[in-house]
């Protein structure tokens, strides 16, 4: 009988995850070597690496939660693979449930038919390939376009990049306000955002006024993790059940 947790599936998933891990290390070493050649401050780079690692842990743990959700339906190997590479939480669940509903199957039971599993795997894989294919084919062109903007007008080039960043950040900040019309508990994300911003400001104060420079690298992980921790009492006070 077909088992979504069978060994061959784990082995296949491990091969792909292993390759991607290798690719990450390859680019990491090449970039570190280049940083040295460019005479960049390697101590600072090391601190940035540590800070990035710490920053990554909380979102990564939340990805485990997504893996648990999907594993009830698809077993472990496929969600593990998909969330380690390519995918994102916001993609995998809708993709899996759409594929399932196309075959009139519910997401609450473990898949037992290899046919059904095969459809889901194919749909989830092919459905997400557009971004990576475009990057493979067109990134070089895009980058030289960006370089040209910068070459033509240095100041505008910088404003262009800052606008790109702020456009993205604005979209997410706006999203945090999406539930405020639901009443007090709809404001919980807003409060958490403000707390995180305040902690960031406090970190900034210590970096600038008290010259605690190492803190600069860790300010984001500190404000994010503290705000996440504070969300537990805040949610209790503001009455958010769901």
């Amino acid at each position: 009988m077909f088992d979504v947790n069978s060994l061959p599936l784990f082995v296949m998933a491990a091969v792909v995850v292993g390759y991607v891990l290798f690719q990450s290390f390859f680019f990491l070493f090449k970039a570190l070597k280049r940083a040295k050649e460019l005479g960049m401050d390697m101590g600072k780079i090391k601190r940035t690496m540590n800070a990035t690692a710490i920053f990554t842990i909380a979102p990564a743990v939340s990805i485990i939660l997504g893996m648990i959700t999907l594993s009830k339906f698809l077993g472990l190997p496929l969600p593990w693979l998909r969330l380690s590479v390519l995918g994102a939480l916001t993609y995998e669940l809708p993709a899996a449930s759409t594929a399932a509903s196309a075959m009139n199957i519910s997401l609450s039971e473990t898949v037992t038919s290899p046919q059904v599993y095969s459809v889901i795997v194919w749909v989830m894989t092919v459905g997400i390939l557009s971004g990576i294919i475009i990057i493979t084919l067109f990134l070089k062109k895009m980058q030289s376009g960006m370089m040209n903007i910068r070459k033509k007008d240095e100041k505008w080039g910088k404003i262009f990049m800052d606008s790109l960043f702020l456009g993205m950040i604005s979209a997410f900040l706006g999203m945090i306000f999406a539930d405020i019309r639901l009443g007090l508990q709809g404001w919980i994300p807003v409060v958490i955002m403000i707390l995180s911003a305040l902690i960031m400001l406090i970190c900034g104060y210590f970096v600038k006024k008290k010259k605690i420079t190492w803190l600069e690298n860790y300010a984001l992980p500190i404000s994010m993790l503290s705000a996440m921790a504070l969300s537990i009492p805040v949610t209790a006070i503001m009455g958010g059940g769901l």
Partner: protein
């Protein structure tokens, strides 16, 4: 002829990413061959029709928005390893910020690549550990006590990140912030399609900045 770092990265990136795509496709191929279970065109296409129109567009949009942000090495890796908006892009932005380098310079490119590589490696390791320790971890991670912390991961992340970027460029930030506030408060259901609004925000901001720049305000 001396090949520049930039050109080498594109070469490595194209080769390694093409290989990655082939490997991604090999998983469904393996399932079909090993279990002798081909999906059949009907079910495959009807499933694909349900997601491809949205996610192919989102993927394309992400490529054109994040590609220029993340630099060469960072983009290849970021698109292979996924989880861009909630993880890789903020990690890269924060690294650029704390290193004090600009995106789209060679230093910026190197820093983005390092940040995204570290973030990918840590994510992969956390997921392996998570999978191996799933039985003891599951009750802790799914406990109602911790639920609010995971529900609020994005506000906790973007609050801190916003302070840094908005305070540095508040003139650029005013217009898109107002636009997004109005959009999301007027239409809360947009929250589920935030990835579509990222490029909307980006293009809008660039246009407004262009006007402000021409008028000499920026």
């Amino acid at each position: 002829m001396v090949v520049s770092y930039e050109d080498k990265v594109h070469k490595w990136g194209r080769i390694s990413t093409s290989l990655a795509i082939a490997l991604f496709l090999s998983f469904p191929l393996f399932v079909s061959i090993y279990y002798n279970a081909w999906p059949g065109w009907g079910p495959f296409l009807s499933g694909l029709l349900g997601i491809a129109p949205i996610f192919w567009v989102v993927g394309a949009i992400e490529a054109f928005t994040f590609g220029p942000m993340l630099g060469s090495g960072g983009s290849y890796l970021g698109f292979v390893t996924g989880n861009l908006t909630n993880l890789k892009v903020p990690a890269a932005l924060n690294a650029l910020q704390s290193m004090g380098v600009e995106a789209n310079t060679e230093e910026g490119d190197v820093v983005c690549t390092i940040a995204i590589a570290v973030s990918s490696i840590v994510t992969t390791i956390v997921l392996i550990v998570g999978m191996l320790l799933l039985a003891p971890l599951q009750p802790i991670l799914q406990s109602p006590t911790l639920a609010p912390a995971f529900d609020n991961i994005l506000p906790a992340l973007f609050g801190g990140l916003a302070v840094v970027f908005v305070s540095k460029n508040w003139k650029i930030a005013v217009a898109p912030l107002l636009l997004m506030l109005i959009l999301f408060i007027a239409m809360p259901s947009l929250a589920s399609s935030v990835s579509v609004l990222v490029p909307v925000g980006a293009i809008f901001t660039i246009l407004v900045s262009r006007v402000l720049y021409k008028k000499g305000i920026l």
